[in-house]
Symmetry: C3
């Protein structure tokens, strides 16, 4: 692994910014769960960090990349700032639809980015697609497990599906030769749009009825 | 880790086939849980993948091996095919004993293989034994956690014990100098036999009664 | 990763001993949960191992270190001995306060050691602090998840907070230039003292009341 030069390097500034957006959004969603359960400030921090970095951490471990937040302070600072923000702002800001929309942005960005990073580290197309879905969804799955609430996996709404759309498009368009920024934009906007429709119209997948 | 040449290499074709058998069986067991909970097709896929590759993934991360399914499409295709199969076939196929028997094959094969791979990557005997148990059981444990159902760990039936028998025999026989194929056959057949008796006769371990 | 020489090396004997103390204590706490649930001996072993090595394993995977118990038998032997001990000794030993006090020692030692190992492997200060907290708390979190009981994360008592105090002091004092043994002693004693007060006086953090 150590000898691999990830081709994503020249794009790092843009990619890092997107990464931070995803982290902040998911960290807020973790802190909001701590808030709904009337937890302590330490638990606010813990949930913000685990939800904010969980998906990307799992991705990095699986693709053999150094864990992205280990050699800098910025990422954890973002998560702790998010937790502090949720602690000090009034309920109604996070109780309504606002969080769902922020989360939709994070979902689209993170799944696109995760798939790109998977490809950059030499994953085959299908695993790279899986890395995108995992990056976007694993933080929330871990958050739900720790909070003892039903996993996002078991809800029929179009959530994992929107992540799959972004990750899938990113892999297909990149392998078809499209420049990474164009592919990434199309992938992220498509996933966000599907998730937006799901939020607005309540679209969901049908459960099994064999 | 990168410099280690695993002695298991010449046996890779046979080992890969066994690996695929284990993956397919566990992926089916994951999809069946999604089916019991009347989930969506996306959740079918997710559970099939997580259950199919979860144990082996954890093993590879812990022994410092590249994650086995990351550089090929075949493994995830097997999991997704398993999920599709469960979605389209009638209930009764998976509702009865059939799954338990397939799972017994997977359990025996995976625990034997996991212990062998642990030794091949330089693990000490006891950790290599642990890797065998983990490879066979972790996928199911993660599946139960995500599905919110009681962990297989908390059931008294001879399940983890059968995996421990296979893994333990594999380590002991290999260290005693037996050729890997002979050791593997004895280990896998022994674990399968113990599990088969447990299924047929309802054998289980006694719980603590201090 | 493989080329990094951790500066912690000369202190390895003392550090290894502390590591074993933490492992033994947490392994006992895992076995006690198996005992409370009247589980089988196999589950006793499984819970002892997972709780004993869970936090340190996660830390090593995240910082890119070889998993600490993979190339020796001693660590798993300690866990299995702890499980056997809990199985064969009378209830009342573990039912009272004794375990809480042992656990307080493990918590302080493990969080201090985890932060030091994080720094030794090149983690930035905030992630190194996080590694300390994780080393001390993740084993118990995984134990609670597997046992299906409310996570230690959701209890208001000063538990994660005590780990954070030890980990934070270790990072700050080390970066301020204090020798590692002095820093480690101050950090571990401080965290233990806070935890001791929490056990004796029932101190806890206030939950959110926005």
């Amino acid at each position: 692994m150590a000898m691999m030069t990830p081709p994503i390097a020249p794009l790092m500034p843009a990619v890092t910014l997107l990464d931070y957006v995803g982290i902040a959004v998911f960290a807020i969603s973790g802190a909001v769960v701590a808030w709904e359960k009337r937890q302590t400030v330490v638990t606010f921090f813990f949930f913000a960090v685990v939800t904010g970095v969980g998906g990307g951490t799992l991705r990095d471990v699986l693709i053999g990349a150094p864990v992205f937040w280990m050699h800098e302070n910025a990422t954890l600072l973002i998560c702790m700032t998010a937790a502090t923000l949720v602690w000090f702002t009034p309920h109604r800001i996070w109780g309504g639809q606002a969080l769902a929309w922020f989360d939709a942005v994070g979902l689209a960005v993170y799944s696109t980015y995760g798939a790109a990073k998977g490809l950059a580290f030499g994953a085959a197309p299908l695993p790279a697609f899986g890395m995108g879905v995992l990056t976007a969804c694993a933080g929330g799955i871990i958050r739900d497990l720790l909070a003892g609430q039903p996993s996002i996996l078991l809800r029929p709404e179009l959530y994992v599906t929107a992540a799959a759309l972004s990750a899938g498009l990113m892999v297909v368009l990149t392998l078809a030769g499209m420049p990474i920024l164009a592919a990434g934009s199309i992938a992220a906007v498509s996933g966000f749009t599907l998730r937006a429709i799901a939020i607005r119209k309540g679209w969901s997948l049908p459960g099994y009825r064999g």
